[in-house]
Symmetry: C2
Subunit: 387 residues, 2 copies
């Protein structure tokens, strides 16, 4: 809580200095532009059940809990990040969000980026214009033009942040014998990355990684030997949504990675700044980076499946949990194609759909427990066969 | 049933003559092009609960029943329209459909049209290209180029069909004292329009309208005087989904209009063929017509609200039922903005979300009954006041 208020005080100071403060729900926001303008880009509160009942006076019951929760925080005026933002970044990646922003617009300024359905050349051309529009909108807030140098500087800062997160990800998952950090801590650090000042955050994550490096050297794992190693695929975990991580922890599994928007999808790609001499090239490079985001909103989205299979091999995982927030149609429908590809490779997969209610905690725990048992049995059988 | 097989025999004859047969789920398909090429454009089976259980091996539980039902018909190979189509028209108006077509693609050829999120000039430019692409795809099926004259001829046929439906709509709703046709019959005729040959259908609908004209002259209403007049807003009723119409009928209400895709949204606009001398103008006119479709997939979609208020006044309705298929996020979220506008005008509105299961029939009946009672009470109170 103290951290939150400190950060909000910083954000308010930035705003007093005419720097932009932009709240987001999605990783398509070109934060390089905001950071380049000296401002703050942060994820809005949206992981709590506590605001949902109120928001159902405006929104239907059957939409994603993240959207309802975030809308509810605005409705209740209980999220400092939302309250003290110049505008909320809205986009079209998900239809519940796309339509909800029409209502949100009545409560808070929203700027919408039109993210296309496909990644054909003509779609990308339009997407580039959206990035340019976004830059103009930020300039309206600051009242001055953003220079190429500022954009490059912003990009460098965000690149470094993503590199630090990539380093943490590697430390969590690459060594098959030592996992130097718990799943909940790993997730929490990623979540904080959506709120903190990027320079301070990058430094702190790198300091943590130095410590984790040491732990690996010392063979100091937070999990017992042969604990099943799990990758989580799917939709984001906004804090304080630690339901699945809690269930896996208490049933004896180790989560080594989240292939989600608050996770690997967010930090996997960097912006190539090599030979960027003009604004148009800068925009092309931003576009290049953002179009690598393999969100299920795109049709088709086969690159995501190829990536998942590669990630699984690299991390020597024992199984995956495909997690979707309730009523998230895109990730939910795509789970069939992903699990089909996993099955072909003989990769065990458990699909869990859940919201923020505590009601299914027990059920999820039971399902995860059964899944982990089957993985342990499989591991033992393999070890026996290898003897 | 006999009608279905007769129509399918016709479709097969068309295909034998190298004419296109295109199955659709959506009213954005430019059917003028298909009809111009001498082919058949028809809605696919998708209104039955009977195919849903099977389809849940591939699709999640929590998506729209129409999509699941239609996918299930393909899965079971039990819809002649689906089986005997050259390709299925897919689009991006709804994310469950957008993603499901990636799976459907494995079972049947699908051609996707990218319908944009917005209606800005640049979106429309891209949309026009999609119509042109669609035409090329139809030409691939027929193996020959479609001429301007053929397109104009196809457009004339579809315009006449829509005019006949507009006439039926007016007869159902414009006279405040006489409703010459039952709601279920009115809906059924509209539903048949998505399957039948357009020339025959237009002729038959006009014959029916002549009969309805007579009934109105003779003051021959199928409803008793002062039966509450209802407009239905929202998502389509694919046959045999007559659940809501059944509930309204048995509780003593009169439905005079469906503002839905199988309804007013489908036939309200015609293509202007005035001075169309070249293909480019023809494409512009098609675009012009299709962009008037006020689907909730667009953001914003305020024109729909203005239209609803006007329709309500024109039809002297007593109330509206906003109907959404379960998990249809766009229409579901938009219901808040629509009902807010209705409330401002003092228009009574009941919101119902339902699927194809028979389980909520009783509950819907109870809710409709209570709603109708309140409308009757209001009508009586007004009459008393006017004395």
């Amino acid at each position: 809580m103290k951290f939150q208020w400190q950060r909000i005080a910083e954000i308010n100071q930035l705003r007093a200095d005419k720097k932009p403060a932009v709240g987001t729900f999605c990783i398509f926001v070109p934060e390089e532009i905001i950071v380049g303008a000296g401002g703050a880009c942060y994820g809005l509160c949206g992981g709590s059940n506590a605001t949902i009942a109120d928001t159902e006076t405006e929104l239907p019951r059957n939409i994603c809990p993240l959207i309802k929760s975030a809308h509810g925080f605005k409705f209740q005026r209980t999220c400092g990040y939302t309250q003290f933002s110049d505008f909320i970044y809205g986009e079209t990646t998900c239809e519940a969000k796309k339509k909800t922003r029409e209502i949100l617009d009545k409560h808070h300024p929203v700027h919408v980026m039109n993210i296309p359905h496909m990644k054909r050349e003509k779609d990308l051309k339009m997407w580039k214009e959206e990035i340019e529009d976004f830059k103009s909108h930020v300039e309206e807030v600051t009242g001055k033009k953003l220079s190429l140098e500022e954009m490059k500087e912003g990009t460098k800062i965000v690149n470094e942040k993503r590199k630090a997160l990539q380093r943490l990800d590697a430390l969590r998952g690459i060594n098959p014998d030592v996992i130097p950090i718990s799943a909940k801590d790993g997730l929490l650090i990623t979540q904080i990355g959506f709120m903190d000042d990027p320079l301070r955050y990058t430094q702190k994550v790198n300091e943590l990684c130095d410590e984790l490096d040491k732990r690996i050297e010392e063979n100091n794992s937070v999990f017992e030997k042969d604990t099943p190693r799990l990758m989580i695929l799917g939709t984001p975990f906004a804090p304080p949504n630690w339901k699945l991580h809690g269930a896996v922890k208490t049933t004896g599994g180790a989560i080594i990675n989240e292939e989600s928007c608050i996770g690997h999808r967010y930090y996997k790609d960097n912006v190539d700044l090599d030979s960027v001499e003009d604004e148009d090239t800068m925009m092309d490079r931003l576009l290049q980076r953002y179009t690598q985001v393999d969100c299920a909103c795109f049709t088709p989205n086969t690159q995501r499946i190829d990536k998942i299979l590669q990630m699984y091999k690299d991390r020597k995982a024992d199984g995956v949990i495909y997690y979707t927030l309730s009523f998230c149609h895109t990730y939910n429908v795509e789970s069939f194609l992903v699990s089909e590809a996993l099955e072909k490779e003989g990769i065990p997969c458990l699909i869990i759909e859940s919201d923020y209610s505590p009601e299914d905690v027990g059920q999820i725990k039971t399902r995860v427990e059964a899944f982990l048992e089957s993985l342990t049995f499989k591991k033992k059988a393999k070890a026996f066969k290898d003897l």
